[in-house]
């Protein structure tokens, strides 16, 4: 058992973090414990190796890309705040929130989740998924199991279907359109227990 208040007081700017991400105090505490468990050398930051130590993640074909999503370009460590902000993408969407165009997009909305997934494809962050980038993802997911020709034909077909303005790349809008019907909230959300 632990006293939530004592753990929360260890985290700087925790009110702001809760506002931004929508996590409850209990969630933040759990994530903090998890952060500390991953941060084996107690530096207060996580490095890519700390993520790499998670075996299920190392086994995931796109594990490296997911780890990359936590680190902003040029950054080599991630602190607790950034850790929580990225994980906040996976909070189930708040159904009751009214759509207010003046407020910034909440981090767990459908669009934000889509942006997160888009980022996994678009590694050079130019706003488009090029054919080469698509091939790279396919290669990670399939590696030795299919031939290069099969990979290329899959990539071609996918681009053909999704690319509406025929620039041989998939922009975010095209990405969003092709996934119109998918229940993103369900598939890209992780529920907390208690």
């Amino acid at each position: 058992m632990g006293s939530t208040n004592s753990t929360l007081s260890k985290i700087p700017n925790v009110e702001e973090l809760m506002q931004e991400t929508g996590f409850t105090p209990a969630h933040i505490v759990r994530l903090y414990d998890r952060f500390e468990a991953l941060d084996k050398e107690k530096t207060g930051h996580l490095r890519p190796q700390d993520f790499g130590a998670i075996n299920r993640l190392a086994m995931n074909p796109i594990g490296d890309r997911i780890i990359g999503a936590f680190f902003s370009p040029g950054q080599e460590t991630v602190d607790f705040h950034s850790f929580v902000r990225i994980l906040a993408h996976f909070r189930p969407a708040d159904k009751k929130r009214p759509k207010d165009p003046s407020m910034p997009e909440p981090v767990n909305s459908r669009t934000s989740k889509l942006k997160f997934a888009f980022q996994l494809y678009d590694q050079d962050k130019d706003g488009k998924i090029s054919r080469a980038e698509l091939l790279q993802v396919l290669r990670s997911m399939l590696e030795m199991q299919v031939t290069e020709e099969q990979l290329e034909s899959i990539a071609d077909r996918t681009i053909q279907e999704a690319d509406l303005d025929k620039d041989d790349a998939i922009s975010f809008e095209e990405f969003r359109k092709s996934l119109e019907k998918v229940n993103i909230d369900h598939k890209m959300s992780i529920r907390f227990l208690r």
Binding site: N5, A37, A53, N55, T158, K187
Partner: protein, 459 residues
Amino acid sequence: MDSLANFNPFDNLLCILLGISFTVWFTLLLVFIIVPAIFGVSFGIRQLYMKTLLKIFEWATHRIERGAKDNNHLLYKPYSNAIIAKEPTSLEEEIKEIRRSGSNRDLDHASEFEMSDIFYFCRQGVESIMDDEVTKRFSAEELESWNLLTRSNYNFQHISLRLTVLWGLGVVIRYGFLLPLRVTLAFTGVGLLVVLTSIIGFLPNGRMKNFLSEQVHLMCYRICVRALTAIITYHDSENKPKNGGICVANHTSPIDVIILASDGCYAMVGQIHGGLMGVIQKSMVKACPHIWFERSEVKDRHLVAKRLSDHVEDKTKLPILIFPEGTCINNTSVMMFKKGSFEIGSTVYPVAIKYDPRFGDAFWNSSQFGMVNYLLRMMSSWAIVCSVWYLPPMTREEGEDAVQFANRVKAAIARQGGLVDLLWDGGLKRGKVKDTFKEEQQKLYSKMLVGTQEDRSRS
């Protein structure tokens, strides 16, 4: 002159008092602890002690909950099992479901790849970042109640005055009384072991020597058990390992050896260390044949296997004690057993050891503490309470290879001890997962895609 006269009687008195208390102390020690250890009987003092402690812990937990409510602190139970809800669906099901909801086409001609497939892998990945099975196994198990040791992570002694007092009392008792007592016993036990086994080493080989060596080993281990205030319950002793067999157990701490060896005689296997450990090892092997390897020999698997099988074939030699996990696990699960000991082909006697964490956490996190630090922690806990189950012997069946046999034994041990049976390699604590696991995932996924392509070409 006057002051001098005043000092002397006091001095004398002090000396006499000290002398008397030492004598009393040693007599008590001898009568209540060492003599029973020699003969293997027990007065039941430790059981009584355990019951009393449990009552005190219950009271302490009660007070914490009350205290927290009064002060409006939010208490939460630690995530002993999981923080997130995971749905146990397979890769295929999940991806089909994602496609079904998003696809405009009918499923007969579903395309091989959808952009949305990545959601499955993405979520799996982030789920494992938030919470995964393996990393949890390597930190000390979290408790549901507090056992008055601050090392169980949470600083409760500040919640109420009574609790603080109790905790303080606990510290005084543990460090002021129990620790010195235990350290004395430990030195006695180890010292006797070294001296007596060396003496026995001078006897000619034969039944007398074996008998004496067994008695000496048992006695010294029993003293060490009392040095840790270990309260052990043995179950199913009719299955105790016999000569020519290999005893296999799950590994939580170096204390496992003492626990098992105080109830039966085993031949130990291990690397020769320097220092005190080395002295103990060298003298032990004078009295009866243990298997110690030089550092260089450890790498040579054939040499190791040969020595083990030679030992096992000689039926006059004691059963070998091996911990196949290769490393200390935190006693909530059993990890992959290394197959070496299962290749030898003799009868395997599995043993399950389960510690009760309420009294003291026996898990040795070797990256956090060194050996001496660890032993001190053990000796300043309340007690080590554990259960040992001797499982029925198992042999390798026809057509079973060493790995399958190892897994079968592991499953039996996990089941008996109430531990979770995990496939992961204990070596993962330090290393990285092998690429074969990633390939498995890729294979599964490609089967889905390429599979449909085959269907297409057929139709």
